[in-house]
Symmetry: C3
Subunit: 197 residues, 3 copies
């Protein structure tokens, strides 16, 4: 008996293209002109909007949103709860030439809950948990957890809460209006919310 | 009797996807792999190029050009004669997180005749009449009428005519080679052409 | 007898759209949701990835790679061995307005072997042989051969080898680890490799 690649509770638009051998989890929606290649693994409760392309080596966790016009390449992993805004662009080769194939592609890791803004460009880096890459940013270096980065090249200009609002640190501590609390230790922010999950 | 949603004089490419309940005006062309959702309203004499996506809450006036690879989200309105260049990117959420839906999306208003350059990124703002957003600009604040803005973040570097050529003000007045005339009052440009429409 | 427009050795994905009158050379692959218009000429051994659009006036040489989500407009020519990264954006009109058609479109020339980075924006310019446009760059002026340009607007920050690695000039001469050699003369780099092709 073969385990079905596409969960029967997934929704595939009639114009979606999910190749045999692609895995799509329960309640994930795949919309028109999206194309998921053999070998790709997409978790549950996700959303792959129109014109999304997912190469076979890609791994997406649960509750991942991929807005329209995003192409995900071999070497990319997105953990649970990641948001990828429309037309955000990823890469897996810092020195591309036509006809040159790498033995191994450069890797991109999107940690849990981070958000990639619309039309951002992401070189092969790690984006930390709950970080927020602003729309139009060009990210050339890894991004710490809870950082807001923007510009070309992208620079950190603030820290943000898990709810995406900016944090105002007083000394080493910050409280967000949403109730979550954070500690700043050097260049590292960690959540200290008592009942956080 | 039901009024047809798609005017019989519109052109739909065989590979275009116009969902029932989408309205498309006379002589508007919808090209391959474009997708217009139920509820969207597109005026007459428009052009939706390949790979364009239009969400249900979008309103487009007459003679609007949308080049390839543009995704228009709920909350966006474009008035008559707007030009949206290829792969220009719009947004309706300044603090996106996966799985978070807003009660109301942030709004973008493109005023009559403005042009959005190729691959520009537009945060939820108003772009004034006949303004020109340069290719690759990242627009974070509203743009005045007749302004040329460029860069990341976008800054105003010049004023432009309705014909899109730069205006050279002598004091408060400017005449364009095309015959149109303008007045600069503080940070506001207005057209003073005698027989302008 | 009519010469077939699409070489029988080309690969067309079932969801690719190659219009009658488009020419596609041997061993070139055209992937899902790509659209090639009548009159376009694509050489041999090329790769047009998902969601690529090629207008009728475009000319592509041999071994040209066009990654996903790239739209190529009338007025663009790419010579042999050019690499165009994902979602790179081209233009053929520096002063666009809706409804205004030019007698002649502005021209873009991509010289042999150059690479256009992901999500770069290219105004109508010439990009020199083996130049490397960085991801996210906004190119407003022509780029010399072997130059690396980056930023918005794009500036030259280094010279690169045909293999895409950076060159370290000692005086007027540079040797790359790959074995190729170069001469710098004013603002011009030329290859001096003894057995170069």
């Amino acid at each position: 008996m073969q385990i079905p690649d596409v969960d029967p509770r997934a929704f595939l638009h009639p114009q979606a293209l999910v190749d045999p051998g692609a895995r799509v989890g329960a309640r994930t929606r795949v919309w028109a002109y999206a194309h998921v290649l053999p070998g790709a693994a997409v978790g549950t409760d996700g959303n792959l909007c129109d014109h999304v392309f997912v190469e076979g080596g890609v791994r997406l966790g649960d509750r991942v949103t991929v807005k329209s016009g995003v192409f995900l390449w071999d070497g990319l992993t997105a953990e649970d709860d990641v948001f990828i805004g429309p037309a955000a662009v990823f890469t897996n080769d810092r020195t591309p030439r036509s006809g040159v194939r790498r033995a191994e592609w450069d890797r991109t890791l999107l940690r849990r809950g981070c958000s990639i803004g619309a039309n951002a460009t992401i070189l092969p880096v790690t984006v930390g948990e709950w970080a927020l890459v602003a729309a139009g940013a060009v990210v050339t270096r890894s991004v710490p957890a809870f950082a807001l980065v923007l510009g070309n090249p992208a620079r950190r200009t603030a820290w943000v809460c898990r709810c995406a609002e900016r944090l105002a640190f007083e000394g080493a501590l910050a409280s967000c209006a949403c109730g979550r609390t954070y500690r700043l230790d050097g260049d590292t922010v960690s959540e200290t919310t008592a009942d956080g999950d």
